[in-house]
């Protein structure tokens, strides 16, 4: 066991040795330095291992004196972990900075070594003055590293840094002097025991110590100097500052809090959250990667500071929460800074260059998702626990601030990610990737996954999470270089295997989950079949598609809230990547992600509030909620509504679904949206019995009706076939929301019928239209036309799809309409019902436009030889058509079991079944009988007409009566563009995009606020010092008050 004192000896000794041995060349010096850091790391690491095996603390004295007269170090569990982290990033950072350090020579290496050593001591020391000394050492070393870049900007930044830190150091020193005066000891534990607060004037001493450490953590807004440092330093150094110094300083803060006690918690939490929210808000306005990361680092430190401020509420989970978030920050931020150093772009958009190196893009995505707190990364569990505990302590305001800050962070990080994946019209600069630069990044990314896997076990309920599917996704990622046919087969096989293992037991026990699992999994398998139609490798598709299905499956499997939320976020991540794969999807991917994050945070808040005061994390506790019912129900509903794209939250959907790839649109439309429905169902089952919930459901009913109207009107005026279907999805989800909100037996039967139907016909329509788009190369309906001649199978599919969608008997859509009427009249929601009916008739407008503009009318020149849609699309489409036909011919096969299931929640008001004849309180309906009657009648009439006009001459498309003229061109003869001009004149005002304008203005508001406050960072050192001083004064007065 090597004593930790040797960290100092190695550090100082090597520093001298470097000077002596510089004759051996820079490579030698460099290797020596790295060995030194490695040795320090080894020391800390062996202690870490020791603590995990035996678990003792150790105190080390030096120079033969007892504290406070000598360096007083402690190596405990915390110290070992943090020192290991610092040394690891030091070692990897050293490797990363190899070229820079070598160029600058041994001075730089010396400074580097001292920098790392200093941080080790900061972590280990228990002596306040010692702490001061080594903080100064680290400050000076940092400044030295900052000016490594040796340009005007970095020298200025280093200078500002020195000024600011010396002001802070002065405050700190005064605080220590006062403390020593009052407590007569410099040992931190001694100071803590001295109970300084009780002493008159002691609180000032504590204030000075505390505020200076807080200032070192760069609180908003007194942090301009730090931003300049992040901005100006070479990214390798910024990585160290962000990962290592912040870690060390955070631990110092933790130690100092031992002296301060809990009385300052509110202030600390306030400063921390202000920093978190403010810094992330300003981050939205940044476009320089380094500065952006600087804002993000400061924000994260703010969150961490706040967590310590929440200490009284977090109890034993404090360390878990703080550590997971710190660890994620440490790994991700270092990785991002390092990546920024590799790309060397002054602009966020420059990261588009990453697209050339998919592996690095993957790393980048990993870091971004980890920072935001997506599963399976540690911060996900940390944030979850944080919110749960905050809610448990009824700290709703704080909780809101945490989520708001996270949301702002999401805005810029996902915009950045979106740029790198998808932005167009850019000359992608070349960049060089050295092994010494990429290896550290890779190690840290892997570290995130490993850490995430291991942290899950520590979170309450985390053990339930099934990681095997995620390993499968990772496996797909690894075999991404294989051709489509293999990956597709493996994926389908996996989904099929999973379905076989999960569906039969669900059918026995849990009909509700069986239905949704069926939609998710069978739908998933079917839509994947269409993937065979693609050629090449389709890089990156299968991991993300399966990621989404994994998320959906986890939602189904979830029994507790953490697991549910875990699945929800996994699904969101997968679907985000699926959506952003589309050609022009960048802005839509971003808006999807932002609404999803917002929704997810609403869910998180809702779950947290529901969990408050309850013993269990199980989803069942929702049913026992007795306080804040409206809030919980409302928040959870809003969370789920973002996924169902209800009016107001729908603006992400048309673009996201419209621009997605041909086989992705059905996945995200027919399947993904049902996740929101599933959530709503779960929510209403659990909480529907509360009167408050019923009130909200009434609002949701109106919302659903208006969504249906707006969605259908929106679809009517579309020219883009896929957007039309996307708007139609909005409307259909509006129907479902409406029917669910009715909360009666018939209402829910309607909702489930609609869900199943919508899954089938929307999958058919999106698959078919997507396949047609693949063939004809355009989304614009007016550029198609007459394709029935070339694609009869596609036409039949769309025909069946639109008949089913419009609810015309005898196809299954009518089942939904009939139930709907009965439910509405039964419930008494006549006006909402009338609006929904009205929107149902509007559906005819766009359905006709869809089938007419694409398949009927005039065939265009360039489509004269276009082929039938790919057989790989036809297979799933016709399987679904068979499904619709079975449902239509024998509705009782589906509706009867559904009814029995719903009876367990709403025992009264169901249907009576007599064979195919269903009878409700109001009316009756015989699906099978109608089907038979209509089919026979239709066949008879058709054969009669065929006999009567058997000799008809087949003619071509221009053989039409054209006022005695002949048509000029197919383009001028095909009436399709703005076909509902009259309707637009009458009702077009209803589709003015007020909601999009509202969100746009919100977006502008955030940006302009950020832009306004950004001006406080003038770049002037004096101003920054003034900020620091002013900050101290303001905090002082607030704290005293």
């Amino acid at each position: 066991m090597v004593s930790p004192i040797h960290i100092i000896t190695i550090g100082l000794g090597l520093a001298f040795a470097l000077g002596l041995l510089q004759g051996f060349g820079k490579n030698f010096s460099g290797i020596l330095m790295l060995l030194g850091v490695a040795a320090m790391g080894f020391i800390s690491f062996q202690w870490l291992v020791a603590f995990f095996t035996s678990g003792s603390t150790s105190e080390i004295f030096t120079a033969g004196f007892k504290p406070p007269y000598s360096i007083n170090l402690m190596m405990g569990k915390h110290e070992a972990v943090l020192a290991s982290m610092v040394n690891l990033v030091g070692l990897l950072g050293g490797i990363y900075l190899w070229d820079t350090l070598k160029k600058q020579g041994f001075h730089a290496m010396l400074v580097y070594l001292v920098f790392i050593m200093g941080m080790n001591i900061m972590i280990m020391t228990r002596d306040a003055f010692n702490l001061f000394v080594f903080m100064e050492v680290v400050s000076i070393a940092t400044a030295g590293l900052v000016i490594l870049e040796q340009n005007n900007k970095s020298v200025q930044a280093g200078f500002k840094y020195m000024i600011a830190t010396s002001v802070i150091a002065g405050l700190f020193l005064m605080g220590i002097i006062f403390s020593y005066y009052f407590a007569a000891t410099l040992n931190i534990d001694g100071l803590a025991n001295a109970n300084l607060l009780a002493i008159k004037g002691g609180s000032l001493a504590i204030f000075l110590v505390l505020i200076s450490i807080i200032l070192e953590l760069k609180p908003f807004p007194a942090n301009g100097w730090a931003l300049d440092v992040y901005h100006a330093a070479t990214p390798g150094v910024s990585a160290l500052i962000s990962a290592a110094s912040a870690t060390a300083m955070y631990f110092v803060f933790y130690k100092v809090l031992g002296i301060v006690g809990d009385s300052w918690s509110q202030v600390i939490a306030a400063i921390g959250l202000l920093t978190f929210v403010g810094s992330n808000l300003l981050g939205t306005k940044q476009d320089n990667p380094n500065r952006l990361l600087g804002y993000s680092s400061i924000g994260q430190m703010g969150l961490l500071m706040a967590i310590l401020g929440f200490r009284p509420f977090l109890g034993e989970k404090l360390e878990f929460i703080a550590f997971t978030i710190l660890l994620t920050h440490y790994l991700a931020k270092a990785g991002l800074f390092w990546l920024a150093g590799i790309i060397k772009s002054e602009n966020l958009k420059g990261f588009a260059a990453l697209r050339k190196k998919p592996f690095m893009l993957f790393l980048f995505g990993t870091f971004v998702f980890a920072l935001i707190g997506f599963p399976p990364f540690p911060s996900f569990f940390g944030k979850w626990e944080l919110v749960m505990h905050l809610a448990n302590g009824h700290m709703y305001g704080w909780m809101f601030a945490v989520l708001l800050g996270s949301f702002f962070e999401g805005i810029y990080l996902f915009r950045w990610l979106g740029y790198s994946i998808k932005i167009d019209h850019l000359a992608l600069p070349d960049f060089k990737v050295d092994w010494n630069k990429i290896i550290p990044v890779g190690i840290f990314a892997i570290g995130l996954y490993v850490a995430g896997y291991f942290t899950s076990g520590f979170a309450e309920g985390g053990t339930a999470i099934n990681f095997i599917p995620l390993f499968f996704v990772a496996f797909l990622l690894m075999i991404d270089f294989l051709p489509i046919i293999i990956k597709n087969t493996i994926s389908i096989a996996a989904i099929a295997w999973y379905s076989f293992s999960i569906l039969p037991p669900l059918y026995e026990h849990d009909m509700l989950r069986f239905i949704f699992a069926g939609i998710f999994l069978i739908g998933g398998g079917l839509t994947l079949i269409a993937g065979y139609a693609y050629k090449g490798k389709r890089p990156g598709f299968y991991p993300v598609a399966l990621l989404m299905y994994v998320g959906l499956a986890q939602i189904i499997e979830a029994q507790n809230m953490l697991h549910f939320f875990f699945g929800w976020e996994i699904m969101t991540a997968g679907s985000y990547f699926l959506i952003i794969r589309g050609k022009r999807s960048m802005p839509h991917g971003l808006s999807y992600m932002l609404f999803s994050i917002g929704g997810a945070y609403a869910l998180l808040a809702g779950f947290g509030m529901a969990h408050a005061g309850q013993a269990s994390l199980s989803l069942d506790v929702l049913a026992n909620v007795s306080q804040n019912v409206s809030w919980i129900f409302g928040l959870l509903a809003v969370g789920f509504l973002t996924k169902t794209a209800s009016l107001g939250l729908h603006i992400w959907l048309p673009g996201a679904h419209g621009e997605a790839e041909s086989d992705v649109s059905p996945m995200v439309s027919a399947i993904l949206l049902k996740a929101g429905v599933f959530g709503l169902v779960i929510l209403m089952i659990a909480m529907g019995h509360h009167p408050e919930a019923a009130n909200i459901a009434y609002i949701l009913g109106w919302l659903g009706a208006l969504t249906a109207l707006a969605g259908n009107l929106g679809a009517t005026f579309q020219e883009d076939a896929k957007r039309l279907l996307a708007y139609s999805s909005i409307a259909q989800l509006g129907y479902i929301l409406f029917a669910l909100s009715i909360m009666t037996h018939l209402g829910w039967l309607t909702a489930f019928t609609y869900s199943i139907n919508h899954f089938m016909y929307k999958a058919i329509l999106f698959l078919t239209i997507g396949a047609v788009v693949l063939r004809v190369g355009t989304h614009n309906m007016y550029e198609m036309g007459g394709l029935i001649k070339r694609m009869p199978f596609a036409f039949i599919a769309v025909l069946i799809g639109i008949i089913a969608l419009s609810g015309v008997p005898p196809l299954s859509g009518f089942a939904g309409k009939w139930l709907f009427y009965n439910a509405v009249i039964d419930k008494g929601w006549y006006f909402q019902g009338a609006i929904v009916f009205f929107s149902g008739t509007i559906a005819f407008l766009y359905l006709f436009k869809l089938i007419y503009s694409v398949f009927l009318g005039q065939l265009k020149d360039n489509h004269r030889q276009v082929k039938e849609i790919s057989v790989w699309f036809i297979i799933p489409i016709y399987v679904l058509i068979i499904g619709i036909m079975i449902f239509s011919a024998k509705p009782q096969w589906v509706l009867q079991p559904l009814g029995e299931m719903i009876t367990s929640w709403y025992p009264n008001g169901g249907l009576q079944w007599d064979g195919g004849l269903a009878t409700s309180a109001l009316g009756y309906w015989n699906g099978s009988g109608i089907m038979i009657s209509i089919v026979i009648m239709f066949a008879l009439l058709l054969s009669w007409l065929l006999v009567m006009s058997r000799k008809a001459q087949k003619v071509e498309q221009f053989n039409i009566v054209y006022s005695a003229e002949r048509p000029f061109r197919p383009e001028t003869t095909h009436v399709s563009y703005n076909i509902y001009a009259g309707y637009n004149k009458a009702l077009g005002f209803l589709v003015t995009p007020v909601i999009a304008a509202f969100w746009d203005s919100m977006d502008n508001l955030v940006h302009s606020v950020a832009g306004f406050f950004r001006k406080i960072y003038s770049g002037n050192g004096q101003v920054y010092v003034a900020h620091v001083v002013l900050f101290v004064v303001v905090v002082y007065f607030f704290a005293i008050a």
Binding site: R775, V776, G777, T778, D861, N862, H863, R864, Q865, V866, Q953, K954, V955, E956, Q957, F958, N959, V961, A964, E965, R966, P967, F968, R969, P970
Partner: protein, 232 residues
């Protein structure tokens, strides 16, 4: 050898091309998957099937019955060619009331049986008239109204109006005069009814039988025909 034939074909095309409308020329089009195909509008967009002869029902009783129905239900195409078209609207007014004879106006040739050529026909109009006539379903009847359709009338020496309608399409009933009054038109309708009931109004088949002769006459003056021979 092949080259020569190609050249000949191209030369021939050059000659024909003189009056071929630009939108009817062959054109190269890039399909969505990038291959280039040729579109020949006249072949691809129009049916070039020749007209057929539709024989009357072989059972006289049925045919007589159907002829009676056809005679009592005369649907007139609303296409006024010359100044005589001003005589058509009064037919529907209370004063003349052609409805009582089963005469009704239709807006599309597809649903019409009777074509009233109301007065002089310029070459430009004749082209449209022929198109509309060919688009009417069999059986169809033509009433030629006014002297201009018979012998050119006052436009007998014009460079731009035809003299004799029967050179271009078969005519069932002539109504002479310049202009004939609506009463004369009603008389014409009654005459047409008689012909139909007697089974003598099979001029549509006559047109098909002498199709080449009619077509040659039409094409002699309509030089930019720009369509396949028969308009379905």
């Amino acid at each position: 050898m092949t080259n020569e034939t190609n050249n000949i074909v191209e030369d021939k095309l050059e000659l024909e091309d003189k009056f071929l409308a630009p939108e009817n020329r062959k054109r190269q089009v890039t399909t969505p998957d990038g291959t280039i195909i040729e579109v020949d509008p006249l072949r691809d967009y129009f049916s070039d099937a020749r007209p057929q002869i539709y024989r009357p029902n072989s059972i006289p009783v049925i045919e007589n019955f159907l002829n009676w129905a056809r005679a009592e239900s005369l649907w007139v195409l609303g296409f006024g060619t010359g100044c005589g078209s001003i005589e058509l609207p009064p037919l529907t007014t209370p004063r003349f009331d052609a409805y009582r004879f089963g005469v009704q106006m239709r807006a599309t040739p597809r649903q019409s049986n009777v074509f009233i050529i109301s007065g002089y026909l310029s070459v430009k109009t004749l082209k449209r008239v022929v198109r509309s006539y060919e688009q009417m379903p069999n059986p169809k009847y033509v009433i030629a109204l006014g002297s201009c359709t018979i012998n050119g009338g006052m436009y007998y020496d014009s460079y731009n109006t035809i003299n004799r309608l029967d050179q271009y399409m078969p005519v069932d009933v002539y109504i002479a005069g310049c202009m004939p009054r609506p009463e004369a038109l009603l008389a014409g309708f009654n005459k047409l009814k008689e012909l139909i009931k007697a089974g003598k109004a099979e001029k549509a088949n006559e047109y098909v039988e002498n199709f080449d002769w009619y077509k040659a006459n039409q094409k002699k003056i309509i030089k930019d025909w720009n369509m396949p021979d028969y308009n379905w």
